[in-house]
Symmetry: D2
Subunit: 309 residues, 4 copies
């Protein structure tokens, strides 16, 4: 335990000088404004021990990391029927590409690209109003992290909506193929809000712990999903969790994980720990540059890669 | 141990009636001629215990499973510089697609699609004659499996060459982008021969054992690759090993693996075992239909998925 | 002259039995409801003589035929700078494809596919309100046809807006690339209304007469555009006027023309005549099936093809 | 007549200073070696009067201009059945793109892109040996131009074959779809040789005269094709004759024409004249930059555009 704390601190110390690398997402002002020097790490083991360093308790915009929680919620409501609406394959293209949709009849490749997450928002709505669905999402994430203070940043949600032309295009395109059941503005209302969840590394790691523990949060005792479903969500994170850099992340880190353009990454070492990093500078695939390096170091030093003996 | 033998037999017994499903590859006569009822399973643990059932000792055309051995060989010759020539990302398209090559300047997405494996053949050639390179490949696979009887089926190699228009297109296309260093006919000579390796499930499982054991074959004591490289090859198999069905295989099976259109799949449970299945009927992604189901059952019952605790 | 009237009647008589072929556009109720048996032809020569037959004086939804008038209007406002915003090349894909936009940075290939016509709507707006722009468009078409009774069908405009998800996708997609200057709803307000212009064959032929006469309407004496611009608009109609069937139309008919999914086609024989046909059944490219055949017969019998001596 | 000679000289004089613009094709040494300052124009009217200037009698590599003669030959052998093998639509992509082939089952969009011309070579072979077919092609072009001195440049043909990886890719790709009936090396043998025809502007203009005269060469009295077929070949040149710059050429010049990477363009003013220009510097679409400008000036000054009255 002491060792892990030392390791986390060492990684933070080693990589802190590199936080200036990469590029902060600037498509909305509230993201562009974030201090690029921020860098936090938090690891939580199955006994609830937390090892952390840096800006690990400062909330940031988790952006696409939320897609994991949304998928979990949709699977809870619709079960395997979810996969009639969205695929499970890596896309081989950028997170916001529309080409694949045209070639494949409007069905998104997986729930972790924008188009897929919009379909998941449609599934989470399930006849409710956007307000109700957004409330349910926030409560679900609070429950996962066992922390009622988690909230959506309303300014970010508003900015997403104001500049979300690409997502409007994706949603209307799928609607034209009959792939969304609710009105586009309802679906995107949900989508833009869940993107705007603000969480710290510590909160994110706790929220992901059920995926490291066969579906049951060991701290609260809540069974969130079955062990089979936990494995499957992990599989999806590994193959599709980092957009068109998923293969690279698997190669270098070897852990299921999900990144967001806010610079956060949540990752899972099954049977061992959940973890989260935050560093706003992004690499060319839109994943946290220093965050990816931190997880690579962590996996190498702990031997947590799922691909090693 | 006894349990594992019973499990392997049970899986064989349960799935044997379904071998008629799917479609046998028919693009070359020697593949089309194979009896679709063939079905073999072999599992080998790190102590060398073998558990097997059905047609597990009959040699079949391993086809693209060989791409794992070829990658291993290329990495041995060129190290990480290999990745200057071929990517590490899932392709999001069919195994023989040429579209991605045109959009991305002739560089294949990963070593497990045809275009990527052709580049790997170019790297394995490394200035040698095709005959020399083919000899080296055979000896390498014999060494991995510790079995000098493994050979290439010359009839299959000849058929591949006679009907390989699509691969000729891929190779010439990459050549036009300056992405192959040797003459196209040399590169394809190597490529068509390594596709034609004939191995049994038992041989394949043994040949893959180093990947389950951090790079060192526990039976021969040979260190084939470093533990880091073994993890990385496993990561590539998991994200790209089953063409455009890789996400699906990860979701259902949760093990690194590589399939071939001959109906074989080799898979690895790190720290536990290597395994191979053979059943010629293919699903719509070109992967063994019954073989995939067999591995799903095996992973579910053993808890070997890399994504569970 | 008498001959031409006889020819028009003969063509109508010959093809009338085939109006049941093809498929009426059904994406909006007011189009789906149209009687598939409708069939009109009108030809007007440079002296103003009109030759017509069938339902040639019944107004129908001209749909994309209006794109020619919109382009003329945009060129009048912005001149050759129009081409900074939209290309002049055939698209090689369907009228509503979004793939090309993603591959080419959001700039549409030509003004006669939907994406291009949406950009043209943005150019026609030019700082005005949608209501003002729509008024201007209607007045311009009335002026071209010298007929103040031409109007927009408000029910069609409303239906277009209610079901226009694909166009919403195209517009938002271009907006995300910074390719539209006005708000998306303003641009589409204009776009949906100009699609809904209702005109008869006779009116359409008169409105197109300036293109057959070097830019000057010989009936009113109005110079609409320069002779160079008239030639250039004709060139665009010939290469891009029939979506992905433009090559086929040039091959069989050999006249510059523009079709709409309402089943109308306007065509021009430079120096000779302007003409319009209407028959709602569409071929697989979305062009009037019987209308195309009628123009092929007309061009063959008159020798009006621009490609003959 | 004197006027036309003066015009041709004026155009040559005006544009000669700009021959340094653009880029000479350099993919084979014999093209790269050509003097970029070369510039010739030749116009021939239906009475056989020739108006010419500059390097109009120096033979150059006509490259893709030959595709028009090849299409004429294939239509002569196979009639409209030719179109079962190749389309008639602009491609919306580069001359050597393979993407469209994958998306459309291996059938090329038109006979004037490389893939389409390879299919045409297959059709011209028609069971003969490559040597016989090549002989027939040369004799056909000699017959069209009424000039038995026209020949293939063997060095160019050899260079094409030595560096033709992209065309090898296209041919093998189509072969894999079953779209070529002869062996790939036979088809490409024909293809590479017809590309290597060496002709002067004067010869090219004479060879194209039948297309300006309803299919009958007015000088020899030979009926080459029917008037309908002449119109149709002209239509194809107009919509597809300049690769992905066909729309632009129609817009600026307004004449059916076909360009080649050797810097030649042959064009046709139906009922008036045939013409050819040569200037090796190419624009970004691979068409002669100065040659296009020369034809634009010529069409503007003569009023020969097919789109004007």
């Amino acid at each position: 335990m002491t060792d892990l704390q030392a390791l986390v601190e060492e990684i933070h110390h080693t990589l802190k000088p590199r936080t200036g690398e990469g590029r902060v997402a600037d498509y909305i002002p509230s993201l562009a404004r974030v201090d690029q020097d921020k860098f936090g790490i938090a690891v939580i083991d199955l006994d609830g021990n937390v090892f952390k360093s840096g800006d690990c308790d400062e909330a940031f915009s988790i952006q696409s990391v939320s897609k994991v929680f949304m998928l979990t919620l949709a699977l809870g409501k619709h079960g395997e029927a979810t996969w009639n609406r969205v695929g499970r394959e890596p896309s081989g293209s950028a997170f916001n590409s529309i080409v694949q949709l045209e070639h494949e009849g409007g069905k998104p490749r997986n729930p972790f690209i924008n188009a897929g997450a919009i379909v998941i928002s449609d599934l989470v709505l399930a006849g409710h109003t956007p307000r109700e669905a957004i409330g349910e999402i926030v409560r679900f994430v609070q429950y996962l992290a066992d922390d009622p203070s988690i909230a959506i940043d309303p300014e970010v949600a508003k900015s997403e909506a104001a500049t979300g032309y690409r997502n409007l295009a994706l949603a209307n395109f799928m609607k034209s193929f009959g792939k969304l059941q609710h009105p586009v503005d309802h679906v995107l209302g949900v989508y833009f809000h869940q993107c705007a969840l603000a969480m710290s590394c510590t909160q994110l790691a706790r929220a992901g712990l059920f995926l490291a523990a066969n579906g049951k949060n060991p701290l609260t005792g809540h069974t969130v999903v079955s062990s089979q479903r936990a494995r499957r969500i992990n599989a999806l994170m590994l193959t599709c969790g980092h957009y068109d850099g998923s293969g690279d992340f698997a190669y270098h880190v070897g852990l299921p994980g999900k990144s967001g353009v806010g610079g956060g990454i949540m990752a899972v070492a099954p049977g061992k720990a959940a973890m989260a990093v935050w560093s706003p500078g992004l690499n060319h695939n839109g994943n946290s540059l220093v965050g990816s390096l931190a997880l690579e170091m962590l996996a190498a030093r702990t031997g947590w890669s799922v691909f090693g003996a």
